[in-house]
Each structure stands twice: as C-alpha cells, then as structure tokens.
C-alpha cells in the first residue's frame, strides 16, 4: 500500500482513488518536474538515429534543450544545448551532421564531442580562464538498453538496467523481431500537442477498457476490411485474451493475444493477399531463431508497455515509440516514431508503415479519438473542487490475473507516482 494525500491505495478495502487535483494543479506539476522527471530515467532517443560520427538531433527533454549526438569517437552523447559563455542555444537545427557547433552569439566553437575549440579574442580572458573546462556540459547520466538511450538528471540514480526491472523483457520482445537484434528508427516524426495533463496519456496508452467505445470506428474499419474476431470469453469485453502486468518501478504492460494483425508476423486481410508468403517467411525465421514458444510470444501478442514515467512502446499493428513531456499542467508535447527491424525488406517496411497508420498517429483511425478523450477529461477536470476523486479500482478484488481491461497496470503507475511524490506534495512543489 502506497497512499499519499492524493492517491488512496487500500487493497484491503478494495479501494484505489486518485485525487483529481494531481491533474490540474500547477504546484503538483512543479513537484513532478523535480521529483519525477529530474530523478527518473527519461528516454532521449534511439541509437539508430545517430548513424555516423557527428550526427546529432536536438531535443527538449525534461524542459532542457539537449544535443543527442555521436561524437567523433563514435560514442553517443547527450549534451546540454547551452553555450558555456552566456547560455545561448548552440545548435539550432533539429538534426544533421556537424564536425563543429558554432554559437553564433559571440562565436565560441565546439567540436562534435562538445570540446570548446575556438574562443574569439581569447587574449582578453584572465589567466585563470581554462578553455578545456568550458566544453558543452553532458547530462549527469546517459545509459542505454538495447539501443534505447535514456538520460537521468540525478547523478546518483540507480543504473538504467536496474531501473527498467521487468520492462527489460518487454523491450527484448520488441528487439527480438530483428534477426540481427538491431532495430531501426524510421524517418518521419509525429510531434503534436494534447491539451491534457501528461499522466492522462500514460493511463490511456495501456487502458484497454476504452477500446470498444472510444475506438468503435477503428473496430468497424478493421472488421469491414475482413479481420475476423471471436466473441469475447465470458466476463471479457474484448475479442482476445489480454492481461495487465506490473513490471516493477512503476513500469507496466498489457500483454494481449493478437487479433488485429502484426507485421511480425501475423497476417490479416488489410495486408493484402500478396503479402502472405513474406509474412510466413518472417514467421519461419523467428521460429528458427527463437524456438516456437518465444516466436509465438513475439509474433502472436500485442504489448503496450509504459516505462515510468513518460515512455510508451506499443508493439502491435506496428512498433511505435511515444515519449511525452508536460508543457503545462493541461498540455503535453507528444513525439512518436516508428521502429522496424534493420534488415526488413522494402515491402515489409512499407507494410509496417501502412499498418502503423491504420491505428496510430494524428491522422490515424484511432489516435485522434484518444486525443479527444484526453481533452474531454481535462475539460471535465474543471470540476475538481466539487468532484475530488477518480476511480481506478477495476479488478482490484481479483486474486489471480487481471485483464487488460482492468486497472492493475494503471495502479502500478500511480503507486510509483505516489512513492516519488511523497506524502507532502505541496511541500515538494516548494522545493
């Protein structure tokens, strides 16, 4: 049990409630920035985005401008994008390859590793000015797991591999789709705002309770396209069996038997008759390499994984990485990418991308309705003074497994949130 003033977690009373103030209060957001975003491992980018030495991407992570880059020595770096002279942004392009980054304000020049190489008019600095100490500052910690790079602004944070806990196995299931164990981040970024608190997207990303009602038009689309579903089992809402699993440290997943097709590797009519043989070959390769059981786990389940606090990896109709950061208490910026096996054929890559768009993204058949749902929640939250609590108790009385349409996985997130925020959220905000 992990209650604080905003999360009532009383399993013995079959009660789990979240105070709606957590979704509207600026002070809570400030506390989250310090206690969660500045102490947790936060996704910054994928290794394949930096193919060559000098490649860089500029990103805003936890409110800070960063240069995510590969140095001349080939090592991945995350540098604070702020001039050591008087703070200007040094790199103003979103991506590229550079041997050097020039701060245009007074002309300080840094190399691809962030070392300060040129200081115009250096003679005027006093003798104690040590140029070698003025390289671009690295984030306190930068670590990766299977090519997913994370930063941490707390230099004392636990190692990333420990932090990821049970989420590691679910990342493995994604990466195991690639025969070489190398996934590739596909070009084309979907970057959009949702006028809602960031935690609402955490909940939504693996809340299968909303599928039937929010995504009725998507279900109709895939049904009309010839995808067959079974009637739900007794006591279930959805056509296939799915469970919610707490992976530790606030990470959680829904792990569902696939009914909606997978580029790797379960054919559905939307992919077209002509794609059947290639999907069969992809499937055979998986079985050969991983054995029948693990191949089935990779290819016959859909998994929506939340890595605390703000990373979602959905491995279903395609693989999508989605990271989001609060811009305000009622607004977030979402960035979403598609990921595929590096060695995927052109036809398989095209199929993966097409499949992505059936459901996901700002022009997909489902995501816009999720956005609308979250914005409706945020609008409804204006009543937080009168209606204090949101109800997250689905499945709490069950002893065995909990379904994807239950809320065990949402509770896992909120429990970790409460652990980080401590008992006095207001005091944390004042820090």
């Amino acid at each position: 049990m992990t209650s604080n003033q905003y999360v009532i977690d009383e399993p013995d009373k079959m009660t789990f409630r979240v105070n709606r103030r957590t979704l509207v209060d600026e002070a809570v957001l400030e506390a989250e920035r310090r206690r969660i975003f500045d102490t947790c491992w936060i996704y910054v980018g994928h290794d394949s985005e930096l193919a060559a030495p000098g490649d860089f991407r500029t990103r805003t992570i936890c409110g800070r401008p960063l240069i995510f880059c590969r140095g001349a020595d080939g090592a991945v770096k995350a540098l604070l994008n702020s001039c050591r002279h008087r703070a200007a942004l040094v790199c103003r392009e979103s991506a590229g390859n550079a041997k050097r980054h020039v701060c245009f304000y007074h002309g300080w020049v840094y190399d691809a590793d962030g070392n300060l190489t040129i200081v115009p008019g250096k003679e005027s600095y006093p003798p104690n000015f040590d140029q070698s100490k003025f390289g671009l500052t690295s984030v306190p910690r930068l670590e990766s797991y299977r090519d997913f790079w994370f930063v941490n602004f707390d230099k004392n944070a636990m190692p990333l591999v420990d932090y990821l806990a049970g989420a590691k196995e679910y990342i493995d299931l994604v990466v195991d789709q690639s025969p070489s164990g190398k996934m590739h981040l596909i070009q084309g970024t979907q970057e959009y705002d949702i006028a809602a608190n960031w935690k609402l997207l955490v909940e939504n990303s693996f809340d299968d309770y909303h599928l039937l009602s929010t995504h009725a038009t998507w279900l109709k689309y895939i049904k009309d396209a010839g995808v067959e579903f079974q009637a739900p089992e007794a006591g279930h809402l959805l056509p296939s069996h799915g469970v919610g699993i707490d992976l530790g440290n606030g990470h959680a997943v829904i792990d569902n038997v696939n009914f909606r097709g997978r580029p790797v590797a379960r054919w559905i009519p939307i992919y077209g008759e002509e794609s059947k043989p290639e999907i069969a070959v992809i499937r055979d390769e998986l079985v050969e390499r991983l054995g029948a059981d693990r191949a089935a786990r990779v290819a016959d389940t859909n998994r929506n994984l939340v890595i605390f606090p703000n990373l979602v990896i959905n491995d279903g109709s395609s693989v999508t990485i989605r990271a989001f950061h609060p811009l305000a208490v009622d607004r977030m910026r979402v960035t979403a990418w598609a990921l595929g096996p590096t060695e995927e054929s052109e036809t398989a890559r095209a199929r993966r991308l097409d499949s992505f768009l059936t459901f996901y993204g700002p022009g997909g058949f489902a995501t816009p309705d999720d956005v609308e749902a979250l914005e409706c929640v945020q609008a409804g939250l204006k009543t937080w003074r009168e209606i204090e609590w949101s109800e997250l108790s689905r499945g709490i009385n069950k002893t065995g497994e909990q379904l994807n349409t239950d809320e065990l996985h949402l509770r896992a997130f909120w429990r970790q949130w409460a652990r980080h925020m401590g008992n006095d959220v207001a005091a944390a905000a004042a820090q």
Partner: protein
C-alpha cells in the same frame, strides 16, 4: 484537350466547398478509383511512403473507410464536426499532357471547434488530376503542411 488555370481553380474551389460543407460522398465522386491521399510528416515533407512514417497515407480503400468513419458519430475527434474554411491561392499548373494535369496551390484552412482556439493549417496542395471524359478527377492528392511540427495543430482528424 488543354485545361486552363481557370478550370483547375474552379475544380479546386468546388472541392473545397464540398469539404467545408462535409459533403464527403460527393467529394469522393471527385476521386479516381485508384486515388491516393497523403500527408507527409512535417519534418520530412518530401519523404516517400515506403520508407517514411507519414501522417496520412491512404489508398482509395482507406479513403473510403475514412469517410465511413468521419460520417459516424463515433468519430469522436470530429463529433460534432468542426467548421472549416479553406482559402486556396497561387494555383499553378506544373505539367499537363493528354491524360494528366499536375498542379500546385497554396492553402490556409481555418478550423473552428467549440471552446477551442482557431487552428490554422497552412501548406501546399500537390495534385495530379486525371482528365476524364467530361471532367477532371483527383488521382493523387498530396498535402504538405508548412508547420515544422504539428504541435498545437494537434490531430489531422478532418480531410485537409
């Protein structure tokens, strides 16, 4: 037959009116049976569908499905339908032969929804029109947005 810019403009204005009035079945009649509708991602406006994650990449089957969806009251992002108003200008015929007209045009689409700020979608249309017996039909409809990221434009939940 040679098509003039005036004829192309008339066609674009008719299309814009149908979309602004949500007469989606009639809009569908303006498309060929193998039409495509695509919106490349904001950061790769010249990307190709085979190797780039688009915002929208519909073939005719998905265009039809999109219309079925948009006409449903369960298309929550567009229920009630937003009001839109399209301004089209700078129309240019880039190429034409006996079968096809390739055109470019600029657009601004204002989108209004209750209790929401106005959204302004600004960009270019790049169409291929097929010269049918007595009319023009849209064979390829590529919409490029100028915004560097969607950001406050949010979703693209109506037809741009």
């Amino acid at each position: 037959m040679t098509v003039s810019r005036g004829e192309v403009e008339d066609f674009l204005y008719r299309e814009a009116a149908l979309l602004d009035e949500w007469r989606l079945d009639e809009w569908l009649d303006l498309l060929t049976e193998d039409a495509v509708y695509r919106i490349p991602p904001n950061d790769q406006p010249q990307g190709e569908i085979g190797n780039t994650l688009f915002t929208i990449a519909d073939d005719i089957a998905r265009i039809k499905a999109r219309i079925v969806r948009l006409k449903s009251r369960n298309a929550h992002a567009e229920f009630p339908h937003s009001r839109t108003r399209r301004m089209i200008s700078n129309v240019r015929i880039l190429e034409q032969d006996d079968h096809t007209v390739t055109l470019a045009a600029n657009f601004v689409i204002y989108r209004f929804r209750r209790n929401e700020d106005i959204r302004q979608y600004v960009g270019t249309y790049h169409f291929k029109l097929a010269k049918a017996a007595s009319d023009l039909k849209i064979a390829e409809r590529i919409v490029r947005l100028d915004a560097l990221e969607l950001a406050s434009l949010g979703s693209v939940s109506f037809i741009l």
